[in-house]
């Protein structure tokens, strides 16, 4: 990574899978570590940059293209960019990865039933009632990433555990330096956990 440049953490996942929550918490953590950080949240982008775009595949792809171009400009100027949009299609995420290069894909994994239960914005309810069409996870496809850098199982992990996973990956990739709090990488922590479990200590 060019040290004058930032990097991009690209969240993807179903609506209400926890992307925005994780993005905000990750932002706080990175700011605490001295980075300039911008979150490109799907809803905000659609209101300001992509106003007028709908939810057809073409419009969704165009929305993502706009997001990755803004991310590209910010990253080039040393800003860490966190995107939190559904970004349901693999192909366009791959396009973003190729352009942005310093790209960490984080899959906010959560069963659709659980997302429906959460229904943060009440959109699942509307989609299930047929009031809105082309809603991802209901009548529009979501293509989970095949090789994301991080998978956060947001129905099983706490926000802190998920953010720690992402932070560990960023350390491993050399994007951020470990602090005093970061004793283990994710892999090391698993080794220690296993050792303690084998001894009946945890």
């Amino acid at each position: 990574m060019n040290r004058n440049e930032g990097f991009v953490v690209w969240f993807t996942g179903l609506p209400s899978s926890g992307k925005s929550t994780l993005a905000q918490r990750l932002k706080d953590e990175l700011i605490k570590r001295g980075f300039r950080v911008e979150v490109l949240d799907g809803d905000v982008v659609r209101e300001h940059i992509s106003r007028g775009l709908g939810f057809s595949k073409e419009d969704r792809d165009e929305n993502i293209r706009r997001i990755y171009h803004v991310a590209y400009l910010l990253k080039r100027n040393g800003v860490v960019v966190i995107t939190a949009a559904i970004s349901p299609y693999r192909e366009i995420r791959q396009e973003a990865r190729e352009l942005l290069k310093d790209f960490v894909e984080v899959y906010a994994s959560c069963p659709v039933e659980k997302c429906i239960e959460r229904d943060v914005k009440g959109m699942y309810k509307k989609a299930l009632a047929g009031e809105i069409k082309n809603f991802t996870g209901i009548d529009d496809p979501y293509e989970p990433p095949e090789n994301p850098e991080v998978v956060c199982e947001t129905d099983k992990e706490t926000v802190e555990e998920s953010v720690k996973k992402i932070i560990n990956k960023l350390i491993e990739r050399g994007y951020i330096e470990p602090t005093d709090e970061d004793v283990y990488t994710e892999e090391e922590e698993e080794i220690i956990k296993k050792r303690l479990e084998d001894l009946g200590y945890i």
Partner: protein
């Protein structure tokens, strides 16, 4: 001024040593014993190596050093994490010795991960995974690899490949001895070598007398080998951090709390405490550390702050039933055991086990009792200490918290004013 060599041997019970000595299994250890310098003494609650050695290193109780177990929780947002030396928030003997301008060499003591930058050498213990990140200064990692030093044996081998396990135990002991041989020639005032293998063996084989006899015979040879390298002008202190006994059965606290209506989950078959329901009153972490779901402290706290004492007393009353039924020994309130700046992080209630019933968390279980592949459990009152040439206080009249002061006195270093250790020498 004197210098001191400490050989800490994890989880070796006083009672086991005395019976093995009687059987003639440990002739070298026997030769070190003097009438007044060999004592049975107490560990801490919870009786866990991380807590015990943190107390030893700091001369403070857990409320003053901040280590309460191998796993702990941040209450809000609720997160389980593995405490390391970073969470040990008090100066250790090794730093106090360094600050006094003396030199220290320290190998393998639990809770020294990551290694602290002492004046000398520090090699972290089994909470480290790789030598290169476990050593200070970094350049000694290569030397340690060369002499065959390993951080820990793989405990899972005891269950799947016993001969490989014993081979690793043997290699680990050889590595510890080689570390002494390699580094003892350097300048030092305090040298501490920790042997962890005893704890590992006791966990899996405490009930198998022949294997225990044979292993402790090897340990006796190892100690003899180490003593051959210790210079004559050094005093020697040997000690363990807790005793050990066989497990008759395990007792699972969280299913018990659930049955009593104190712990509730959002799902029918919970796998972890992350699935707790906000209506929970109390939950437990291993071993017998119980936390109230206090509003303003816990992420989903339901108990108003003003009701804390009343609710805690109610929970204690329920838990007393376990004492009446011979399942646990005693129910403690945190302020009865701990004091200091980290008292707020301590469990609200602590269960003291009786020997033979190992207290577990058991969140993913329904039953209250069971068994596992672990055969040995730690005991509170059966640690040993042997300090050559010293007259120690009476058996069980002091604990592992008390020893640090005596060590500093021996080294001619003034004890820090906030150190609570009251000494172990008469």
């Amino acid at each position: 001024m004197k210098r001191l060599f400490i050989l800490s041997i994890d989880g070796v019970p006083y009672s086991l040593l005395t019976s093995l000595i009687e059987m003639g299994v440990m002739p070298f250890f026997k030769s070190l014993i003097t009438d007044k310098g060999f004592r049975r003494y107490n560990s801490v609650l919870p009786t866990i190596s991380s807590v015990a050695w943190a107390s030893f290193m700091t001369g403070k109780n857990p409320g003053a050093h901040g280590i309460f177990g191998f796993i702990d929780r941040r209450p809000s947002p609720f997160t389980l994490y593995l405490p390391t030396g970073k969470n040990l928030r008090a100066k250790t003997l090794f730093e106090i010795v360094s600050d006094a301008g003396k030199r220290t060499i320290c190998f393998n003591v639990p809770m020294t991960t990551p290694p602290r930058k002492v004046n000398g050498i520090m090699v972290s213990g089994f909470l480290s995974t790789k030598l290169h990140s476990a050593v200070h200064p970094p350049e000694i990692a290569q030397k340690l690899e060369y002499i065959g030093y390993i951080i820990d044996v793989d405990p899972s081998l005891a269950l799947k490949d016993e001969s490989a396990f014993w081979k690793q135990v043997h290699n680990a002991l050889e590595g510890r001895k080689n570390a002494v041989k390699t580094f003892i020639g350097q300048e030092w005032d305090l040298f501490m070598l920790h042997i962890m293998e005893t704890d590992r063996v006791n966990h899996f084989y405490i009930h198998e007398h022949e294997k225990i006899r044979s292993f402790y015979q090897e340990l006796d040879h190892c100690i003899k080998g180490i003593f051959e390298y210790i210079p004559d002008d050094a005093d020697v202190l040997l000690l363990s951090d807790h005793g050990f006994c066989s497990i008759e059965k395990e007792f699972y606290v969280n299913p018990y709390l659930s049955r009593k209506g104190l712990l509730k989950f959002k799902v029918e078959n919970p796998k972890s405490l992350n699935e707790m329901d906000p209506s929970t009153t109390a939950y437990s972490l291993i071993p017998g550390r119980i936390y109230l779901n206090l509003r303003g402290r816990e992420e989903m706290g339901s108990i108003p702050q003003g009701d804390y004492s009343r609710v805690r007393n109610e929970v204690v009353d329920i838990l007393e039933e376990l004492v009446d039924n011979g399942i646990i020994k005693k129910v403690w309130l945190k302020e009865e055991l701990y004091s200091g700046p980290f008292l707020d992080e301590a469990p609200d209630i602590i269960l003291e086990p009786i020997e033979g019933i190992d207290i577990k968390e058991g969140t993913n279980r329904k039953e209250l009792f069971g068994k596992s592949s672990i055969k040995g459990m730690h005991t509170l009152e059966d640690a040993f200490i042997l300090w050559t040439g010293k007259e120690l206080k009476k058996n069980n009249s002091f604990s592992i918290i008390d020893i640090a002061t005596s060590i500093l006195e021996e080294l001619g270093i003034e004890r820090p004013s906030d150190m609570e250790a009251s000494g172990c020498i008469k």
